[in-house]
Amino acid sequence: MYRGQSGMWSWLLHRITGLGVLLFLLIHVVDIGLLNFGSKVYNEGISLFGTAAVRVLSMALIGGLLYHSFNGVRIILIDFWPKGARYQGVMFAIVMALTIVSFLPMAYFVMGPVFGWPTGNLRGGA
């Protein structure tokens, strides 16, 4: 084992979240493909997304996507901002903070319907 510092963990997490999101994308394209089979097939397929189990997975997806997005910005800053490399550690901390801060409300909206939390948005028939 190599005891890398934040740079290494940020990279590893970036890779894992990237591959995770890719996996989801591949599934998602298939479920979109269900549109070709008419409304009944599609609606049955897509209703899976409303189940509690898939909602948990969706949360993981959203968390991963948020991290991957923010860290992507960090990487771009490292690449194009001449001082970026010097502030990579600070930027990693900011990335983690932003990820958590933006993840929490998203998680509330995703899991809300399961627990009957008020979200104020359009929601499927309970």
């Binding site: 190599y2 510092q5 740079g7 290494m8």
Partner: protein
């Protein structure tokens, strides 16, 4: 101070696979880890094998993995590691014996980016002129002692030993940004390829491992930008 040393051992003549060995030594807090290794070798087990030469961090012989991070054994003080230390050979290189790794491929990679001044104009009778600012532009890279700690700390190298690795790019940087050099375009072309700079994923283990304090990743990023943007034209 009593120090427990856990050392990864491997003798190709005897062992099928590496194993852990332990030694207890009594050291002074301001002794260096290299002194502890010497104490083991000279008083306990003569078969313990490692490289060392200058013993003060300028020759680059004794890079190894100390408590999970690449360090020079001659620059790590006992008081900073405490009572227990784990020592392993660097990752990313074939192990020859105990803590000694094969660095031939490392030097071959270094050679691949033409690490020497390339000039096409004729030599002046005295020195080529270079302003202090131009000299400062590539100063960081000149500190490299080719110890290989950065390259051995890089996950991209562990995954793909063919990759040129950070040390090579640092040395390319040293010439690319030298105002006297005229081979920069060649080097950038080499580094723009599949095993060039793009395999750097800005992981920063290299910068942490560098015993000379070179901001390795930052220099690699400058090379990337040089490939993408091009550089300033040479002053006439």
């Amino acid at each position: 101070m009593n120090v427990l040393m856990r050392i990864r051992r491997f003798d190709p003549d005897k062992d099928n696979k590496p194993y852990w060995d332990e030694f207890r030594v009594e050291m002074d807090p301001i002794d260096r880890l290299l002194d502890a290794l010497n104490t083991v070798k000279w008083t306990m087990d003569g078969t313990l094998t490692y490289r060392r030469s200058c013993a003060h961090g300028v020759c680059g012989s004794d890079a190894m993995r100390i408590n999970g991070r690449n360090r020079l054994a001659c620059k790590v003080l006992i008081r900073d590691i405490g009572n227990k230390v784990t020592i392993e050979p660097m990752l990313g290189y074939p192990v020859l014996r105990d803590l000694v790794v094969d660095m031939d491929a490392f030097f071959d990679k270094y050679k691949s980016i033409k690490p020497y001044l390339i000039t096409t104009d004729s030599e002046p009778g005295t020195e080529r002129l270079q302003s202090p600012e131009e000299r400062a532009r590539y100063d960081e890279g000149t500190k490299c002692i080719l110890c290989g700690a950065c390259t051995g700390s890089c996950p991209s190298v562990w995954g793909n030993p063919d990759w040129v690795g950070p040390a090579t790019i640092v040395n390319a940087h040293r010439f690319i940004f030298d105002s006297r050099d005229q081979g920069g375009a060649d080097r950038l072309a080499i580094l723009g390829q599949r095993n060039g700079v793009w395999r750097c994923r800005t992981i920063f283990n290299c910068a942490d491992a560098c015993p000379r304090g070179i901001p390795v990743t930052e220099l690699i990023e400058q090379v990337k930008r040089a490939i993408v943007y091009g550089g300033d034209t040479k002053v006439e």
